[in-house]
Symmetry: C2
Subunit: 147 residues, 2 copies
DNA sequence: TATTGTTATACTCTATAACTATA
DNA sequence: TATAGTTATAGAGTATAACAATA
């Protein structure tokens, strides 16, 4: 192992910056902010039973989540419905339009990821992505009844 | 390649958060803030000819860099000296104490990195670190005359 | 009384503008 | 006049506190 390598966190932050920069034009093309995309992603695998839970899942203060939800709801990308079982709760779920837009963004973003990993040959890039995914997946906080 | 994997940026951000959390106790033990450590790191390979250049290298506004430099200078970890060639410039360089402290932090941080990559076996972890380093290194903005 | 969602307020962090000195 | 460093001010982003509805 090289001893003059960058700290793990340092390397991660540099690559993350590049990855975010690569995402931006794709999101912009769909008129989405980064946090919009994060929220849509969090809802992909199931509705959020409460807005608080959704806020926790995306690690964002619940007060800051409101304008995002308002924006996405106004565009018809998600729906907020009162939970009949407990009328204090608002269930948040993707609409079909939201799911479609999310899919389009994902495809565009994945295409752009190749350029970020350009210094690696394709096999090494795939291995990096897979290893990262293995480490990252357990760190994710999910949302929804089955989670 | 799995199709249900996380976006690259998503995975990176999750792992980065974990890596930063792992760094914190080490830095705290040495009474350093994250940005202190970043600045010391930037100076490791050579003095910064000006504070502005150092600010650019660590991607921080020059006005926000001042309190950091004040703090580190007060602790004797770095030195600011007036450039005789152009008395407007202040050359910033590590002291021996600064270099020693940086080294101690680095060793502690690298030891903690293993826990972040615990889901991977040692070979895969080493491969991940090396691949990340390869991608990240060209993205770094360096400081100093030879850069 | 406790909790969800919401609104209003305060706080922190960051960048911009203004000042001093050197060139 | 232009630039480095510094100081003071304003702006964006974030979290805390207060409120209304429901349980």
């Amino acid at each position: 192992m090289r001893d003059d390598r960058l700290d793990l966190a340092h390397a991660l932050s540099l690559v993350l910056r590049a990855a975010l920069a690569a995402e931006e034009p794709v999101l912009q093309a769909h008129d989405l902010q980064m946090w919009d995309y994060v929220v849509l992603n969090a809802l992909e695998r199931g509705a959020a039973p409460t807005q608080s839970e959704l806020a926790a899942a995306v690690r964002r203060d619940k007060t800051r989540l409101l304008p995002i939800l308002d924006r996405l709801e106004a565009r018809g990308l998600l729906r907020r419905t009162v939970d009949p079982g407990d009328r204090r709760n608002r269930v948040v779920q993707l609409t079909d339009a939201g799911r479609d837009l999310l899919g389009a963004c994902k495809r565009g973003i994945r295409a752009g990821e190749r350029s970020v990993l350009a210094p690696l040959d394709p096999d090494a890039a795939a291995a990096l992505i897979e290893a990262l995914d293995r480490v990252a997946r357990p760190l994710r906080t999910t949302v929804g009844p089955s989670a």
